[in-house]
């Protein structure tokens, strides 16, 4: 079958192989590691490269056509986050803090996953819309902000109901709770937006837009030609970290393990279909799906540890990095590519019917 061929040929690319190699290196307890300075620098470099590329493409195509896909992506991301929460809280019996933390980790996006996706498409000889980099930037904080808002709401509510059972007249305390929530939210909002990932991504998009193809030329060797090699190096480290966490997966439990595979698949395929319906190209639909399928594992701990300190970071880091990330880049990417190829073979109008038939 086509999908299995694709998965297999994807599996045998340097990016995936070096990731698996990293996992093995960690499992056999090798002392191999990429020095911290390098593995801190690589995501910055990758995001700069993604941003520049996206900006240059957007200069060619204009950015009016970006608006609808971006709004839809934001909407879906919020919807999915709420959906995750319900599933985790009700079915998974996680406490409210872990539920919101996990819900937003999976609602948010993963920049490394995005890089791997771009390389995957390059390998398939397929391009994608430049403005997806901008959607990546915007989507980063969206899920976090909602989760944090809702967590704080929930906490305030708990406090309020507790208070009410004691006395009826200290609304002021609730006000204080509300105010604290606001402070925390604005803090998190600021931290998210000034977070290095978003800043370098947005900055590079703007600079790419300004300089265009021609201005990019003298730096294209660094920010274009070295791109795949740089991902390969980064994947060694990602593999090592994932490998070190494999033991923690037991602690994560069956439910979350299943969640970490099923949820991205669902979100990702919805993403492919919706974006195809919106008119995105074959490759664009795959990247759009990947945005929704991916979980955040670099930004998430930095944001959530401050915003929802009560949540157990081991849960969201391990499931996102140890399960979802490998699944996404090895298995789901080829699946979404196949789905996208399938739906891009038909007429746009038929597609919509097709979607409605299958999912509703």
């Amino acid at each position: 079958m086509d999908i299995f061929n694709l998965i297999q040929s994807n599996l045998l690319t340097p990016i995936i192989l070096f990731f698996l190699f990293g996992i093995i290196a960690a499992r056999i307890k090798s002392d191999l590691k990429i020095p911290e300075a390098i593995s801190e620098f690589l995501p910055i470099y990758l995001l700069a490269a993604i941003g520049l590329h996206g900006g240059i493409e957007m200069r060619k195509t204009g950015f009016e056509e970006m608006l609808i896909p971006m709004l839809v992506a934001i909407g879906l991301s919020l919807l999915f986050t709420l959906n995750h929460y319900q599933i985790l809280k009700r079915l998974g019996k996680f406490n409210i803090f872990d539920s919101y933390a996990l819900a937003s980790t999976y609602g948010a996006v993963g920049a490394v996953t995005f890089s791997v996706g771009l390389s995957f498409l390059k390998n398939q000889g397929v391009t994608s819309e430049g403005y997806l980099a901008a959607i990546l930037a915007v989507l980063e904080p969206v899920a976090f902000i909602m989760a944090i808002f809702l967590t704080n709401m929930a906490v305030s509510k708990q406090i309020r109901s507790k208070k009410q059972s004691f006395s009826k007249d200290d609304a002021s305390d609730i006000d204080i709770g509300m105010k604290e929530t606001k402070t925390k939210l604005s803090q998190v909002l600021q931290e998210s937006i000034t977070g290095k990932a978003i800043v370098i991504l947005l900055g590079s998009i703007v600079i790419g837009y300004i300089i265009g193809e021609e201005g990019f030329e003298p730096i294209s060797i660094v920010f274009d030609e070295l791109f795949t090699g740089a991902i390969v190096i980064f994947m060694i480290e990602m593999g090592i970290i994932a490998g070190q966490r494999l033991e923690d997966i037991k602690k994560v439990g069956m439910f979350l393990t299943a969640f970490a595979i099923i949820m991205p698949t669902f979100n990702g395929i919805i993403g492919v279909l919706v974006s195809t319906a919106l008119g995105l190209s074959l490759g664009g639909a795959v990247m759009f799906g990947l945005l929704l399928a991916s979980a955040s594992f670099i930004a998430a701990p930095a944001v959530l540890r401050h915003a929802i300190p009560q949540a157990n970071p081991s849960l969201y880091i391990t499931s996102a990095l140890g399960i979802t990330f490998p699944y996404n880049i090895i298995v789901l990417l080829p699946i979404m590519f196949t789905v996208s190829t399938l739906v891009h073979g038909e007429e746009a109008i038929d597609l919509f019917n097709y979607v409605t038939k299958v999912f509703i």
């Binding site: 090592i240 970290i241 070190q244 670099i298 701990p301 540890r305 401050h306 970071p313």
Partner: protein
């Protein structure tokens, strides 16, 4: 050279708690501190490898005895439940007390 007795508070914690600690210090009008990243092992297992967020940091604060108890109490109350933190206090002698 006359040495004056002050306290050295040393806090070893996960790096993402550093901001919270500095905020607490600020609430007690303490702005001076020294910090550096460290590795470590404990109940939470080996720390200091892999992603940035999972590292430990040591924060050292020289301060007068008067403030010590309040600071420790604040840290214990607000951070002990949710963060990986270890702290200890030692006696040190300094030359210029006006700095602290």
């Amino acid at each position: 050279m006359k040495l004056y007795n002050v306290k050295l508070l040393t806090i070893t914690c996960e790096i993402l708690a550093q901001k919270n600690i500095i905020d607490i210090l600020k609430n007690h009008n303490i702005t001076g501190y020294t910090s550096y990243e460290v590795d470590g092992n404990g109940e939470k297992g080996l720390r200091g490898q892999g992603i940035q967020a999972e590292k430990n940091v040591k924060v050292e604060i020289i301060m007068r005895e008067e403030k010590l108890s309040d600071v420790i109490e604040d840290i214990s109350r607000t951070l002990f439940p949710d963060f990986t933190i270890i702290l200890y206090v030692s006696d040190v002698g300094v030359v210029r007390t006006e700095k602290f």
